[in-house]
Symmetry: C2
Subunit: 106 residues, 2 copies
């Protein structure tokens, strides 16, 4: 699903990652973390796809909302496991969304 | 490949799309457009993955570089075909990347 975000400005976190070949527990954790993110204050939406690399873009109302999510206790455990066990490499980019346009369906 | 972008600030264009089931000519055009984008002034990198939705994030040195790429004649033809033939829905978000962190490999 394309995230149904509000009028800008708002924030985006672009998380790009390359996984190890074997990633036990990863899929369940990813699913749990998405469900948990959706309950966070300031959460606006999320988009995700993986082929050679994985890209997850989550949208937030403020930098403070991103900070709170980053510091969420369960999310911190997931982050640590990700960096130690599952990801070969990753990059996180914190962005201010300035403009948005598109069509929702034909 | 995770894009090897410079120190922020720089810009990101997050392009999220859902394709029609049949998209004749799409793959060739996507490949051509990526090659063409890489030659544009101000191009910094691109990341792309598609499952249920497609996410392509391209990185640029300035808003002006994004504008020039948007107005590139060959790219305009591709955009028109995309909107008329290939995409059921899409969203383009123009973002200022404020912070970036990560690891490149273990």
């Amino acid at each position: 699903m394309i995230a149904n975000t509000p009028e800008p400005p708002y924030y985006a976190v672009i998380f790009t990652s390359i996984k190890e070949e074997v990633t036990e527990g990863y899929a369940e954790m990813a699913e749990q973390m998405e469900a948990l993110a959706r309950q966070q204050p300031g959460f606006l939406g999320v988009e995700s796809a993986r082929e050679e690399i994985g890209i997850t873009v989550s949208y937030w109302s403020s930098l403070d909302a991103i900070k709170q999510w980053k510091e969420n206790a369960k999310h911190r455990i997931a982050q640590r496991l990700g960096y130690q066990e599952w990801y070969t490499s990753y990059r996180t980019r914190i962005c201010l969304v300035e403009r948005e346009y598109g069509i929702d369906a034909k």
